[in-house]
Protein backbone atom coordinates (compact mmCIF):
# COMPACT_ATOMS: atom_id res chain seq x y z
CA UNK A 1 0.00 0.00 0.00
CA UNK A 2 2.76 2.40 0.95
CA UNK A 3 4.64 1.30 -2.15
CA UNK A 4 1.67 2.07 -4.38
CA UNK A 5 1.24 5.54 -2.89
CA UNK A 6 4.96 6.21 -3.18
CA UNK A 7 5.09 5.22 -6.83
CA UNK A 8 2.00 7.22 -7.70
CA UNK A 9 3.09 10.43 -6.04
CA UNK A 10 6.76 10.12 -6.91
CA UNK A 11 5.73 9.76 -10.54
CA UNK A 12 3.38 12.73 -10.22
CA UNK A 13 6.16 14.81 -8.65
CA UNK A 14 8.56 13.92 -11.48
CA UNK A 15 6.09 14.62 -14.26
CA UNK A 16 4.87 17.89 -12.81
CA UNK A 17 8.39 19.14 -12.08
CA UNK A 18 9.31 18.44 -15.70
CA UNK A 19 6.30 20.51 -16.73
CA UNK A 20 7.47 23.28 -14.37
CA UNK A 21 10.81 23.56 -16.10
CA UNK A 22 9.62 23.14 -19.65
CA UNK A 23 6.20 24.75 -20.10
CA UNK A 24 6.20 27.97 -22.11
CA UNK A 25 3.53 29.70 -20.07
CA UNK A 26 4.76 30.70 -16.59
CA UNK A 27 1.23 30.48 -15.15
CA UNK A 28 0.97 26.84 -16.13
CA UNK A 29 4.44 26.28 -14.72
CA UNK A 30 3.32 27.73 -11.38
CA UNK A 31 0.21 25.55 -11.28
CA UNK A 32 2.40 22.54 -12.06
CA UNK A 33 4.60 23.51 -9.16
CA UNK A 34 1.51 23.39 -6.93
CA UNK A 35 1.03 19.80 -8.05
CA UNK A 36 4.70 19.04 -7.36
CA UNK A 37 4.45 20.51 -3.88
CA UNK A 38 1.32 18.54 -3.19
CA UNK A 39 3.03 15.28 -4.20
CA UNK A 40 6.06 16.08 -2.06
CA UNK A 41 3.67 16.79 0.84
CA UNK A 42 2.16 13.32 0.44
CA UNK A 43 5.69 11.88 0.45
CA UNK A 44 6.33 13.78 3.68
CA UNK A 45 3.35 12.03 5.21
CA UNK A 46 4.79 8.68 4.11
CA UNK A 47 8.08 9.67 5.75
CA UNK A 48 6.39 10.29 9.07
CA UNK A 49 6.21 14.08 8.97
CA UNK A 50 2.50 14.98 8.69
CA UNK A 51 3.09 18.36 10.29
CA UNK A 52 5.58 19.24 7.57
CA UNK A 53 3.10 18.09 4.95
CA UNK A 54 0.39 20.36 6.30
CA UNK A 55 2.84 23.25 6.58
CA UNK A 56 4.11 22.67 3.05
CA UNK A 57 0.61 22.99 1.64
CA UNK A 58 -0.36 25.84 3.91
CA UNK A 59 2.75 27.97 3.35
CA UNK A 60 4.27 26.91 0.06
CA UNK A 61 1.23 26.02 -2.02
CA UNK A 62 -1.21 28.27 -0.27
CA UNK A 63 0.77 31.47 0.12
CA UNK A 64 4.10 31.56 -1.70
CA UNK A 65 2.78 30.30 -5.01
CA UNK A 66 -0.23 32.59 -4.78
CA UNK A 67 2.31 35.39 -4.48
CA UNK A 68 4.00 34.11 -7.63
CA UNK A 69 0.67 34.10 -9.45
CA UNK A 70 -0.12 37.63 -8.28
CA UNK A 71 3.17 38.93 -9.60
CA UNK A 72 2.69 37.05 -12.88
CA UNK A 73 -0.76 38.51 -13.32
CA UNK A 74 0.16 42.01 -12.27
CA UNK A 75 3.21 42.12 -14.53
CA UNK A 76 1.12 40.54 -17.28
CA UNK A 77 3.87 38.15 -18.25
CA UNK A 78 2.89 36.56 -21.51
CA UNK A 79 3.97 33.28 -22.93
CA UNK A 80 7.70 33.19 -23.32
CA UNK A 81 8.96 32.33 -26.79
CA UNK A 82 10.80 29.23 -25.72
CA UNK A 83 14.05 28.74 -23.82
CA UNK A 84 17.23 30.62 -24.57
CA UNK A 85 18.41 30.52 -28.15
CA UNK A 86 21.79 28.84 -27.99
CA UNK A 87 21.59 25.11 -28.63
CA UNK A 88 24.95 24.68 -26.98
CA UNK A 89 23.72 26.26 -23.76
CA UNK A 90 20.68 24.00 -23.66
CA UNK A 91 22.72 20.91 -24.32
CA UNK A 92 25.32 21.80 -21.70
CA UNK A 93 22.65 22.55 -19.12
CA UNK A 94 20.95 19.24 -19.82
CA UNK A 95 24.25 17.36 -19.61
CA UNK A 96 25.22 19.19 -16.45
CA UNK A 97 21.88 18.54 -14.80
CA UNK A 98 21.91 14.85 -15.62
CA UNK A 99 25.51 14.49 -14.51
CA UNK A 100 24.79 16.25 -11.24
CA UNK A 101 21.73 14.14 -10.53
CA UNK A 102 23.71 10.99 -11.32
CA UNK A 103 26.48 12.08 -8.99
CA UNK A 104 23.99 12.71 -6.22
CA UNK A 105 22.36 9.32 -6.73
CA UNK A 106 25.78 7.70 -6.57
CA UNK A 107 26.65 9.55 -3.37
CA UNK A 108 23.38 8.57 -1.77
CA UNK A 109 23.84 4.97 -2.84
CA UNK A 110 27.29 4.81 -1.30
CA UNK A 111 26.11 6.44 1.91
CA UNK A 112 23.29 3.98 2.24
CA UNK A 113 25.67 1.09 1.53
CA UNK A 114 23.98 -0.27 -1.57
CA UNK A 115 20.28 -1.12 -1.90
CA UNK A 116 19.02 -1.27 1.63
CA UNK A 117 16.19 -3.35 3.02
CA UNK A 118 12.93 -1.54 3.55
CA UNK A 119 13.00 1.00 6.31
CA UNK A 120 11.84 0.08 9.78
CA UNK A 121 8.18 0.85 10.46
CA UNK A 122 7.47 4.39 11.59
CA UNK A 123 7.88 4.87 15.29
CA UNK A 124 5.19 6.82 17.08
CA UNK A 125 7.95 9.00 18.45
CA UNK A 126 8.93 10.27 15.01
CA UNK A 127 5.42 11.08 13.90
CA UNK A 128 4.41 12.68 17.14
CA UNK A 129 3.79 16.39 16.88
CA UNK A 130 4.59 16.90 20.55
CA UNK A 131 8.07 15.44 20.14
CA UNK A 132 8.78 17.65 17.13
CA UNK A 133 7.56 20.70 19.02
CA UNK A 134 9.78 19.84 21.97
CA UNK A 135 12.80 19.62 19.69
CA UNK A 136 11.91 22.81 17.87
CA UNK A 137 11.30 24.91 20.94
CA UNK A 138 13.91 23.21 23.08
CA UNK A 139 17.10 22.38 21.29
CA UNK A 140 16.53 24.71 18.35
CA UNK A 141 14.94 27.67 20.12
CA UNK A 142 17.64 30.15 19.13
CA UNK A 143 17.42 29.16 15.48
CA UNK A 144 13.64 29.46 15.65
CA UNK A 145 13.86 33.00 16.95
CA UNK A 146 16.44 33.93 14.33
CA UNK A 147 14.17 32.63 11.58
CA UNK A 148 11.37 34.75 12.99
CA UNK A 149 13.63 37.77 12.80
CA UNK A 150 14.56 36.82 9.24
CA UNK A 151 10.91 36.75 8.26
CA UNK A 152 10.42 40.20 9.76
CA UNK A 153 13.37 41.52 7.78
CA UNK A 154 11.96 39.93 4.63
CA UNK A 155 8.56 41.53 5.17
CA UNK A 156 10.06 44.96 5.66
CA UNK A 157 12.42 44.50 2.73
CA UNK A 158 9.72 43.31 0.37
CA UNK A 159 7.44 46.18 1.33
CA UNK A 160 10.17 48.73 0.75
CA UNK A 161 11.27 47.20 -2.54
CA UNK A 162 7.83 46.85 -4.01
CA UNK A 163 6.26 50.17 -3.20
CA UNK A 164 6.10 52.92 -5.74
CA UNK A 165 8.97 55.38 -5.50
CA UNK A 166 7.76 58.50 -3.70
CA UNK A 167 6.88 61.34 -6.10
CA UNK A 168 9.79 63.65 -6.56
CA UNK A 169 9.17 67.00 -4.89
CA UNK A 170 9.52 69.94 -7.29
CA UNK A 171 12.66 71.92 -6.50
CA UNK A 172 11.74 74.91 -4.36
CA UNK A 173 13.18 78.20 -5.50
CA UNK A 174 15.23 79.84 -2.75
Amino acid sequence: MELAIFILFAGLALVSSIVVVTHKNPVYATLSLVLTLFSVAVLFVLLGAPFLAALQILIYAGAILVLFLFVLMLLNVGRQEGPSGHRVQLFTALLGGVAFAAMLVLLFWRQQGGPRPPAAPLSAQLVSLTALAQELFGRYLLQFEIVGLLLLVAVVGATVLARRPPPREPEAEP
Binding site: V27, Y28, L31, V34, P50, F51, A53, A54, L55, I57, L58, A61, G62, A63, V66, L69, F70, M73, L74, V127, S128, L129
Partner: protein, 338 residues
Protein backbone atom coordinates in the same frame (compact mmCIF):
# COMPACT_ATOMS: atom_id res chain seq x y z
CA UNK B 1 -13.63 -5.77 3.69
CA UNK B 2 -12.00 -4.79 6.93
CA UNK B 3 -14.00 -2.98 9.55
CA UNK B 4 -11.81 0.10 9.34
CA UNK B 5 -12.24 0.44 5.60
CA UNK B 6 -16.00 -0.06 5.76
CA UNK B 7 -16.24 2.47 8.57
CA UNK B 8 -14.25 5.03 6.60
CA UNK B 9 -16.47 4.59 3.55
CA UNK B 10 -19.61 5.04 5.61
CA UNK B 11 -18.22 8.15 7.29
CA UNK B 12 -17.27 9.51 3.89
CA UNK B 13 -20.82 8.89 2.67
CA UNK B 14 -22.25 10.71 5.67
CA UNK B 15 -19.94 13.71 5.18
CA UNK B 16 -20.56 13.95 1.44
CA UNK B 17 -24.27 13.46 1.91
CA UNK B 18 -24.36 16.33 4.35
CA UNK B 19 -22.28 18.67 2.22
CA UNK B 20 -23.92 18.01 -1.11
CA UNK B 21 -27.44 18.22 0.26
CA UNK B 22 -26.74 21.51 1.97
CA UNK B 23 -26.60 23.31 -1.38
CA UNK B 24 -30.26 23.05 -2.47
CA UNK B 25 -31.41 23.65 1.10
CA UNK B 26 -29.28 26.78 1.32
CA UNK B 27 -30.59 28.04 -2.01
CA UNK B 28 -34.11 27.82 -0.61
CA UNK B 29 -33.14 29.32 2.75
CA UNK B 30 -31.32 32.17 1.03
CA UNK B 31 -34.22 33.08 -1.22
CA UNK B 32 -36.97 32.73 1.38
CA UNK B 33 -34.86 34.27 4.12
CA UNK B 34 -33.97 37.30 2.03
CA UNK B 35 -37.61 37.66 1.07
CA UNK B 36 -38.61 37.55 4.73
CA UNK B 37 -36.14 40.29 5.56
CA UNK B 38 -37.19 42.38 2.61
CA UNK B 39 -40.88 42.02 3.39
CA UNK B 40 -41.85 40.17 0.25
CA UNK B 41 -43.11 36.63 -0.35
CA UNK B 42 -40.15 35.02 -2.12
CA UNK B 43 -40.56 31.93 -4.26
CA UNK B 44 -43.91 30.39 -3.36
CA UNK B 45 -45.26 28.96 -6.60
CA UNK B 46 -43.35 25.71 -6.87
CA UNK B 47 -44.52 23.31 -4.19
CA UNK B 48 -45.52 24.28 -0.66
CA UNK B 49 -43.48 27.26 0.51
CA UNK B 50 -41.53 27.13 -2.72
CA UNK B 51 -39.66 24.02 -1.61
CA UNK B 52 -39.34 22.69 -5.16
CA UNK B 53 -37.67 25.95 -6.25
CA UNK B 54 -34.07 24.68 -5.80
CA UNK B 55 -34.89 21.74 -8.06
CA UNK B 56 -36.20 24.13 -10.68
CA UNK B 57 -33.04 26.22 -10.35
CA UNK B 58 -30.86 23.15 -10.77
CA UNK B 59 -32.77 22.08 -13.88
CA UNK B 60 -32.49 25.57 -15.29
CA UNK B 61 -28.74 25.55 -14.83
CA UNK B 62 -28.41 22.15 -16.41
CA UNK B 63 -30.43 23.02 -19.49
CA UNK B 64 -28.94 26.46 -20.06
CA UNK B 65 -26.71 26.76 -23.08
CA UNK B 66 -23.11 26.12 -22.13
CA UNK B 67 -21.15 28.94 -23.68
CA UNK B 68 -17.37 28.84 -23.63
CA UNK B 69 -15.99 32.16 -24.87
CA UNK B 70 -13.53 31.80 -27.71
CA UNK B 71 -10.64 33.74 -26.22
CA UNK B 72 -10.36 31.98 -22.89
CA UNK B 73 -7.49 29.78 -21.84
CA UNK B 74 -9.45 26.53 -22.10
CA UNK B 75 -7.79 24.12 -19.66
CA UNK B 76 -7.70 26.66 -16.84
CA UNK B 77 -11.18 27.96 -17.66
CA UNK B 78 -12.66 24.49 -17.42
CA UNK B 79 -10.71 23.50 -14.33
CA UNK B 80 -11.35 26.57 -12.19
CA UNK B 81 -14.90 25.86 -10.96
CA UNK B 82 -14.08 22.24 -10.19
CA UNK B 83 -10.96 23.26 -8.33
CA UNK B 84 -13.14 25.41 -6.11
CA UNK B 85 -15.05 22.34 -5.00
CA UNK B 86 -11.95 20.40 -3.97
CA UNK B 87 -10.97 22.38 -0.87
CA UNK B 88 -14.61 22.88 0.08
CA UNK B 89 -15.32 19.16 0.12
CA UNK B 90 -12.06 17.87 1.57
CA UNK B 91 -11.84 20.27 4.51
CA UNK B 92 -14.85 18.67 6.16
CA UNK B 93 -12.89 15.45 6.63
CA UNK B 94 -11.34 16.53 9.93
CA UNK B 95 -14.58 17.52 11.67
CA UNK B 96 -15.75 14.99 14.25
CA UNK B 97 -19.46 14.31 14.24
CA UNK B 98 -19.99 12.03 17.17
CA UNK B 99 -18.49 10.14 20.10
CA UNK B 100 -16.20 7.16 19.52
CA UNK B 101 -17.94 3.92 18.63
CA UNK B 102 -16.77 0.41 19.34
CA UNK B 103 -17.63 -1.89 16.46
CA UNK B 104 -16.52 -5.53 16.41
CA UNK B 105 -13.64 -4.82 18.71
CA UNK B 106 -12.35 -1.78 16.80
CA UNK B 107 -12.55 1.65 18.32
CA UNK B 108 -13.81 3.91 15.56
CA UNK B 109 -13.53 7.67 15.73
CA UNK B 110 -16.32 9.44 13.95
CA UNK B 111 -13.99 11.57 11.87
CA UNK B 112 -13.26 10.84 8.24
CA UNK B 113 -9.56 11.63 8.69
CA UNK B 114 -8.33 11.31 12.25
CA UNK B 115 -4.89 12.81 11.74
CA UNK B 116 -2.84 14.31 14.50
CA UNK B 117 -2.60 17.53 12.53
CA UNK B 118 -6.40 17.92 12.40
CA UNK B 119 -7.09 21.62 12.23
CA UNK B 120 -3.84 22.34 10.44
CA UNK B 121 -4.97 20.06 7.63
CA UNK B 122 -8.24 21.99 7.45
CA UNK B 123 -6.42 25.30 7.15
CA UNK B 124 -3.97 23.90 4.61
CA UNK B 125 -6.71 22.56 2.34
CA UNK B 126 -8.79 25.70 2.76
CA UNK B 127 -5.86 27.83 1.63
CA UNK B 128 -5.95 26.01 -1.70
CA UNK B 129 -9.29 27.66 -2.41
CA UNK B 130 -7.51 30.72 -3.74
CA UNK B 131 -6.44 28.89 -6.89
CA UNK B 132 -9.96 28.53 -8.20
CA UNK B 133 -10.41 32.31 -8.07
CA UNK B 134 -7.03 33.02 -9.58
CA UNK B 135 -7.49 30.58 -12.44
CA UNK B 136 -11.01 31.80 -13.18
CA UNK B 137 -9.91 35.40 -13.44
CA UNK B 138 -6.71 34.75 -15.35
CA UNK B 139 -8.17 32.34 -17.87
CA UNK B 140 -11.10 34.60 -18.73
CA UNK B 141 -8.79 36.87 -20.68
CA UNK B 142 -10.83 39.85 -19.59
CA UNK B 143 -9.49 42.76 -17.59
CA UNK B 144 -12.50 42.95 -15.30
CA UNK B 145 -12.25 39.29 -14.41
CA UNK B 146 -8.54 39.66 -13.78
CA UNK B 147 -9.05 42.61 -11.46
CA UNK B 148 -11.90 40.84 -9.68
CA UNK B 149 -9.87 37.71 -9.15
CA UNK B 150 -6.79 39.60 -7.92
CA UNK B 151 -9.00 41.40 -5.41
CA UNK B 152 -10.73 38.21 -4.34
CA UNK B 153 -7.52 36.28 -3.83
CA UNK B 154 -5.84 39.16 -1.99
CA UNK B 155 -8.88 39.28 0.27
CA UNK B 156 -8.77 35.54 0.89
CA UNK B 157 -5.12 35.36 1.81
CA UNK B 158 -5.33 38.42 4.02
CA UNK B 159 -8.17 37.08 6.11
CA UNK B 160 -6.65 33.60 6.23
CA UNK B 161 -4.07 35.03 8.62
CA UNK B 162 -6.59 36.26 11.16
CA UNK B 163 -8.51 32.98 10.82
CA UNK B 164 -5.39 30.91 11.45
CA UNK B 165 -4.43 32.95 14.50
CA UNK B 166 -7.92 32.64 15.98
CA UNK B 167 -7.75 28.88 15.45
CA UNK B 168 -4.30 28.65 17.05
CA UNK B 169 -5.62 30.50 20.10
CA UNK B 170 -8.24 27.78 20.55
CA UNK B 171 -5.64 25.05 20.15
CA UNK B 172 -3.33 26.39 22.86
CA UNK B 173 -5.33 25.43 25.98
CA UNK B 174 -6.37 22.12 24.42
CA UNK B 175 -2.79 21.16 23.63
CA UNK B 176 -3.58 19.28 20.44
CA UNK B 177 -4.58 20.04 16.86
CA UNK B 178 -7.06 17.18 16.79
CA UNK B 179 -10.63 18.40 16.75
CA UNK B 180 -11.90 15.44 18.77
CA UNK B 181 -9.64 16.60 21.59
CA UNK B 182 -11.00 20.15 21.22
CA UNK B 183 -14.52 18.78 21.63
CA UNK B 184 -13.44 16.68 24.61
CA UNK B 185 -11.86 19.76 26.19
CA UNK B 186 -15.08 21.69 25.75
CA UNK B 187 -17.09 18.86 27.26
CA UNK B 188 -14.80 18.87 30.30
CA UNK B 189 -14.70 22.65 30.66
CA UNK B 190 -16.92 25.30 29.16
CA UNK B 191 -17.61 26.10 25.52
CA UNK B 192 -14.80 28.15 24.03
CA UNK B 193 -17.28 30.89 23.23
CA UNK B 194 -16.97 32.23 26.72
CA UNK B 195 -13.29 32.64 27.41
CA UNK B 196 -12.46 33.34 23.76
CA UNK B 197 -15.28 35.57 22.61
CA UNK B 198 -12.83 37.88 20.85
CA UNK B 199 -11.37 34.93 18.99
CA UNK B 200 -14.84 33.82 18.01
CA UNK B 201 -15.72 37.22 16.60
CA UNK B 202 -12.47 37.31 14.64
CA UNK B 203 -13.19 33.82 13.32
CA UNK B 204 -16.70 34.86 12.31
CA UNK B 205 -15.60 37.96 10.43
CA UNK B 206 -12.71 36.14 8.81
CA UNK B 207 -14.98 33.33 7.63
CA UNK B 208 -17.27 35.84 5.94
CA UNK B 209 -14.26 37.11 4.07
CA UNK B 210 -12.95 33.64 3.28
CA UNK B 211 -16.14 32.58 1.60
CA UNK B 212 -16.64 35.85 -0.29
CA UNK B 213 -19.97 36.47 1.41
CA UNK B 214 -21.39 39.86 2.14
CA UNK B 215 -20.26 42.15 3.56
CA UNK B 216 -17.06 41.05 1.85
CA UNK B 217 -18.36 40.04 -1.54
CA UNK B 218 -16.92 42.88 -3.56
CA UNK B 219 -15.09 40.53 -5.91
CA UNK B 220 -18.25 38.83 -7.04
CA UNK B 221 -20.99 41.38 -6.55
CA UNK B 222 -23.23 41.89 -9.52
CA UNK B 223 -22.69 45.58 -9.79
CA UNK B 224 -18.95 45.59 -9.21
CA UNK B 225 -16.49 44.95 -11.97
CA UNK B 226 -19.21 43.40 -14.12
CA UNK B 227 -19.52 40.47 -11.66
CA UNK B 228 -15.81 40.01 -11.07
CA UNK B 229 -13.99 36.77 -11.60
CA UNK B 230 -16.99 34.76 -12.76
CA UNK B 231 -18.08 37.19 -15.47
CA UNK B 232 -17.33 34.79 -18.29
CA UNK B 233 -18.97 31.78 -16.68
CA UNK B 234 -22.53 30.73 -17.37
CA UNK B 235 -24.92 27.89 -16.61
CA UNK B 236 -23.46 24.85 -14.90
CA UNK B 237 -20.00 26.34 -14.36
CA UNK B 238 -21.47 29.37 -12.63
CA UNK B 239 -23.58 27.04 -10.52
CA UNK B 240 -20.45 25.10 -9.58
CA UNK B 241 -18.84 28.25 -8.22
CA UNK B 242 -21.81 28.83 -6.01
CA UNK B 243 -21.98 25.24 -4.92
CA UNK B 244 -18.37 25.58 -3.87
CA UNK B 245 -19.19 28.75 -1.95
CA UNK B 246 -22.07 27.16 -0.05
CA UNK B 247 -20.08 24.04 0.73
CA UNK B 248 -17.13 26.01 2.02
CA UNK B 249 -19.55 28.06 4.14
CA UNK B 250 -20.78 24.79 5.63
CA UNK B 251 -17.28 23.47 6.27
CA UNK B 252 -16.18 26.71 7.92
CA UNK B 253 -19.34 26.80 10.03
CA UNK B 254 -18.66 23.22 11.06
CA UNK B 255 -15.13 24.20 12.08
CA UNK B 256 -16.42 27.24 13.92
CA UNK B 257 -18.97 25.33 15.95
CA UNK B 258 -16.47 22.57 16.70
CA UNK B 259 -13.84 25.02 17.90
CA UNK B 260 -16.08 27.39 19.80
CA UNK B 261 -19.44 25.80 20.51
CA UNK B 262 -18.72 22.22 21.47
CA UNK B 263 -19.19 20.56 18.10
CA UNK B 264 -21.34 17.47 18.37
CA UNK B 265 -21.72 17.68 22.13
CA UNK B 266 -24.20 19.46 24.35
CA UNK B 267 -23.33 20.40 27.92
CA UNK B 268 -24.76 17.98 30.39
CA UNK B 269 -25.89 15.45 27.82
CA UNK B 270 -24.04 12.15 27.92
CA UNK B 271 -23.74 10.64 24.46
CA UNK B 272 -22.32 7.23 23.72
CA UNK B 273 -22.96 4.28 21.51
CA UNK B 274 -25.02 4.29 18.33
CA UNK B 275 -27.78 6.56 19.64
CA UNK B 276 -25.08 8.94 20.81
CA UNK B 277 -23.55 8.93 17.34
CA UNK B 278 -26.82 9.74 15.60
CA UNK B 279 -27.72 12.38 18.18
CA UNK B 280 -24.24 13.87 17.90
CA UNK B 281 -24.58 14.19 14.16
CA UNK B 282 -27.99 15.83 14.50
CA UNK B 283 -26.68 18.26 17.12
CA UNK B 284 -23.77 19.19 14.87
CA UNK B 285 -26.09 19.70 11.91
CA UNK B 286 -28.34 21.85 14.08
CA UNK B 287 -25.47 24.09 15.13
CA UNK B 288 -24.22 24.36 11.54
CA UNK B 289 -27.76 25.34 10.53
CA UNK B 290 -27.75 28.15 13.09
CA UNK B 291 -24.41 29.34 11.74
CA UNK B 292 -25.63 29.26 8.14
CA UNK B 293 -28.74 31.18 9.13
CA UNK B 294 -26.44 33.85 10.57
CA UNK B 295 -24.56 33.93 7.25
CA UNK B 296 -27.81 34.58 5.38
CA UNK B 297 -28.99 37.08 7.96
CA UNK B 298 -25.79 39.12 7.76
CA UNK B 299 -25.79 39.03 3.98
CA UNK B 300 -29.12 40.73 3.65
CA UNK B 301 -28.55 43.20 6.48
CA UNK B 302 -25.24 44.90 5.88
CA UNK B 303 -23.94 46.97 2.97
CA UNK B 304 -20.84 45.91 1.17
CA UNK B 305 -17.31 46.86 2.19
CA UNK B 306 -15.26 48.87 -0.25
CA UNK B 307 -12.03 47.19 -1.20
CA UNK B 308 -9.71 49.49 0.71
CA UNK B 309 -11.93 49.33 3.78
CA UNK B 310 -11.85 45.57 3.49
CA UNK B 311 -8.07 45.37 3.33
CA UNK B 312 -7.66 47.85 6.13
CA UNK B 313 -10.03 45.83 8.32
CA UNK B 314 -8.15 42.63 7.60
CA UNK B 315 -4.64 43.88 8.19
CA UNK B 316 -4.95 46.77 10.59
CA UNK B 317 -7.82 45.63 12.78
CA UNK B 318 -8.32 41.87 12.69
CA UNK B 319 -4.68 40.83 12.62
CA UNK B 320 -3.61 42.88 15.68
CA UNK B 321 -6.75 41.77 17.52
CA UNK B 322 -6.03 38.16 16.66
CA UNK B 323 -2.46 38.47 17.93
CA UNK B 324 -3.75 40.13 21.11
CA UNK B 325 -6.24 37.29 21.54
CA UNK B 326 -3.44 34.78 21.10
CA UNK B 327 -1.25 36.46 23.72
CA UNK B 328 -4.11 36.69 26.22
CA UNK B 329 -5.09 33.06 25.75
CA UNK B 330 -1.48 31.92 26.03
CA UNK B 331 -1.06 33.93 29.25
CA UNK B 332 -4.26 32.51 30.69
CA UNK B 333 -3.19 28.98 29.82
CA UNK B 334 0.16 29.51 31.50
CA UNK B 335 -1.56 30.88 34.58
CA UNK B 336 -3.66 27.74 34.69
CA UNK B 337 -7.01 29.41 34.26
CA UNK B 338 -7.82 27.64 30.98
Amino acid sequence: MSTELAATLIKLAVALGLLLNVVPIMVWVERRGSALMQDRPGPNRLGPFGLIQPLADALKFMFKEDVTPAAVDRPLYLMAPVLGLLPALTTFSVIPFGPDLTVRGHRIQLVVASAETGVLLFLALASLGVYSLVMAGYSSNNKYSLLGSVRASAQMISYELALTLAVVAVVIPVGSFELSKVVAYQRAHVWNLLPQILGFLIFLVASFAETNRLPFDLPEAESELVAGFHTEYSAMRFATFFMAEYISMTSLSALGVTLYAGGWSLPGVDLHGWTGAVLGLLILVGKIAVCLAVFVWVRWTFPRFRYDQLMRLGWKVLLPLAILNLIVVAAMTLAGWL
